[in-house]
């Protein structure tokens, strides 16, 4: 009996120690170095420059350009897009804005962050941010929930005086995400992530892939999550073990010392 109790206590302690750690250990985007970060931006959805999460992508353009980047976001991540636009020395007041679109080119709402900001005349830079909703593994087709796949960033000046049209500017974007872990784990998953052209890419052979002309070849560092794993397994499993231990504890309380060991046979 004592052995059981010790074992139970040990398992309980172990469970308590492990559960929060396990809950937060799901894979997250690790910031990579900026060595290979892109220095160009696309000018349309079709030509969007692919960046990874954690990369600091830069681009030179002209005021009035529509600059596009794309990045992968997987289930359970809550991406934050940050952009900095460096403006030339003299300019009038102009409004800059970032928009984020999902793999179906549907505009995604920003929960918070300065999605659009007006740079007063003469300011040297303007900073924008957009915190998306947490990406879910599955949602109904009628919903606009963010789903795993490609995300597009569009950076542009929405309000520009003619005198500033075409003036050279430089931009910098960075995407980082916070991992929501199992709290955002839902049942179900998409058969394929929302990557545009995925039906064409998988149909093409290996030898075609080196041409590089695909709509989006984006993938997270460690691949798309398969959707079956979440830390809910750990929580529920530990819950089951703890419940069993509590059951043993309750049983031991009520049953007392149990049937005396020295009860003679046949009583």
């Amino acid at each position: 009996m004592r052995f059981t109790r010790v074992l139970g206590a040990a398992a309980l302690l172990l469970g308590l120690a492990v559960s929060p750690a396990a809950a937060d250990s799901s894979p997250s985007a690790s910031p990579s170095d900026d060595g290979g970060a892109p220095t160009e931006a696309g000018t349309a959805f079709r030509t969007a420059t692919e960046i990874e999460q954690g990369q600091r992508a830069t681009a030179n353009g002209s005021a009035g350009d529509y600059l596009y980047w794309s990045f992968p976001a997987d289930a359970g991540q809550r991406p934050t897009v940050k952009a900095t636009v460096r403006l030339p020395g003299t300019h009038a007041a102009e409004t800059w804005r970032i928009d984020v679109y999902d793999g179906l080119r549907r505009r995604q709402a920003c929960q918070y962050g300065a999605q659009s900001r007006t740079a007063a005349a003469g300011t040297s830079s303007v900073e924008l941010a957009c915190v998306l909703r947490t990406v879910r593994a599955w949602s109904e087709p009628w919903a606009y929930d963010p789903l795993p796949g490609t995300y597009y960033i569009r950076l542009t000046a929405v309000n520009l005086p003619t005198s500033d049209l075409g003036v050279p500017v430089s931009a910098e974007v960075r995407v980082a995400s916070k991992d929501a872990g199992g709290a955002a784990a839902v049942d179900g998953s998409l058969a394929e992530p929302l990557v545009p052209g995925v039906a064409m890419n998988s149909g093409a052979d290996e030898e075609d892939s080196e041409r590089g002309a695909v709509l989006s070849a984006i993938e997270p560092d460690d691949g798309w999550s398969s959707g079956w794993w979440s830390d809910r397994w750990v929580w529920t499993g530990i819950g089951g073990v703890l419940a069993a231990l509590a059951g043993i504890g309750g049983y031991a309380l009520t049953r007392g010392a149990g049937r005396p060991g020295r009860v003679p046979p046949g009583v």
Partner: protein, 421 residues
């Protein structure tokens, strides 16, 4: 755990790739580059009289352009087919009609001989008018043929002097005619009117406009644009949607372009097998000055007219495109050989223009269609019905404890009954 996830993901991806490979043989997909897909760039240089002005880094505009061209010709990637066209290079007279026809091909679009091209550029001297419209038309003809991306880079120091042919409308017509042709414009020491005209030309084709004040800016920008042309891009396939679903063209997975006039609708059909998911997205480009509020609606409708799902987008202010998309997973069927369902896609827009702006050709429409395997379904809000969090643990412990207590009491009671007997 992560390794296992990755393994499972890999296996899934392999399986998906295999099944998709069977479902869509490579030949049936649209938008793949084929054969003659070398990117083509045509540099169109203004050699009008005003290029003599000395206001770029102390030298003439012409000198700056020549220096930039020399550097660009050195840096042009091997695979790019580069050509040079001039406007206003030959006719110095005052006759407007002749002056407005003055555009010539200085170096033909083809494999680049750097020395020859540089020699040709060196001969240029600022001369005549600024016939931007006719030069663009000819430049587009120079780029004819081939499936690769096509780009015109227009470098000018003045607005068009050959009205009434509006270069903006010319650009729009060129874009409507050809597939994947982009016009980028660079204005040398621009004034307000020129900025407007050149950026209007650029926006008509999805290109960019840049103001240039220094030689190195010019070199960097032209280099950037030539490099951009060399980037491999999926070329869309031209299609023409119908006014009703019955006559609509049937599309497979791929990238398509079309034109849609203001207030009109376009219909397309897509066949979706049971167990497949249709993904469609549409972008309607604003290639001219549109009124500030606009919208795009994409509907998936059955052949009988019942709406399945829709994607809608609305916006206001300055924009290049407005896009939306939808997803329609078709459930697995119990029957063997269940027929594919024809889904009609309807694209409508609520863009409008001010009076006086030409409404033809219509707005550019880009349509992406993906039919992927395996619809997704879910039976529970939570992942596999599992729970998480301290409340769950508390509830389970309490339940376990109560069960233990109960079991203990039961067993005690049973023991007592057994002992009394």
């Amino acid at each position: 755990m992560i390794t296992r996830t990755r393994l499972a993901a890999g296996a899934c991806a392999l399986l998906a790739a295999l099944t998709a490979g069977i479902a869509f043989p490579a030949g049936a997909t649209a938008g793949e580059p084929t054969g003659e897909d070398a990117p083509k760039v045509n540099l169109v240089l203004d050699v009008s009289g005003s290029m003599r002005t000395r206001d770029i880094d102390g030298g003439t505009r012409m000198a700056a352009a020549k220096q930039a061209f020399n550097e660009v010709l050195d840096a042009t990637p091997e695979e790019v087919r580069l050509g040079i066209r001039t406007l206003g290079a030959d006719y110095p007279g005052d006759d407007r009609e002749t002056g407005c026809k003055d555009t010539a091909q200085l170096y033909p679009v083809g494999p680049l001989d750097r020395t020859e091209a540089k020699t040709a550029v060196a001969t240029l001297a600022p001369t005549g008018w600024t016939p931007i419209g006719p030069a663009l038309l000819q430049a587009a003809d120079d780029l004819d043929g081939g499936d690769g991306s096509k780009r015109i880079v227009l470098i000018s120091d003045g607005e068009d002097t050959c009205a009434p042919l509006d270069p903006c409308e010319v650009a729009r017509e060129i874009a409507a005619k050809g597939i994947g042709l982009t016009i980028d414009t660079l204005g040398l020491v621009p004034n307000a009117k020129m900025r407007q005209q050149l950026s209007c030309i650029a926006e008509a084709t999805g290109g960019t406009y840049t103001s240039v004040e220094h030689t190195d800016e010019l070199t960097d920008k032209v280099n950037q644009l030539v490099d951009r042309a060399a980037d491999p891009v999926v070329t869309p396939v031209a299609t023409e949607g119908a006014d009703a679903c019955a006559e609509a063209p049937t599309l497979k997975s791929g990238l398509y372009t079309d034109r849609e006039e203001f207030g009109r609708q376009r219909w397309y059909r897509v066949d979706v097998e049971p167990g497949q998911e249709l993904r469609a997205s549409v972008s309607v480009g604003a290639d001219r000055a549109v009124n500030p509020s606009y919208g795009v609606l994409l509907r998936a409708v059955t052949v009988h007219g019942r709406e399945i799902v829709r994607g809608e987008a609305a916006g206001n202010g300055r924009t290049d495109v407005l896009s939306t998309g939808l997803r329609y997973p078709k459930a697995e069927s119990d029957e063997e050989d269940a027929p594919a369902e024809t889904v009609c896609l309807q694209v409508t827009n609520s863009f409008s223009v001010a009076a006086g702006v030409k409404t033809t050709p219509g707005l550019p429409v880009e349509l992406t269609v993906d039919v992927v395997d395996g619809p997704s379904d879910a039976g529970d809000v939570a992942s596999f019905g599992l729970g998480r969090g301290w409340w769950l643990l508390g509830a389970l412990i309490l339940a376990g404890f109560l069960a233990g207590l109960l079991w203990g009491w039961l067993s005690r009671w049973r023991f007592a009954v057994w002992r009394t007997n």
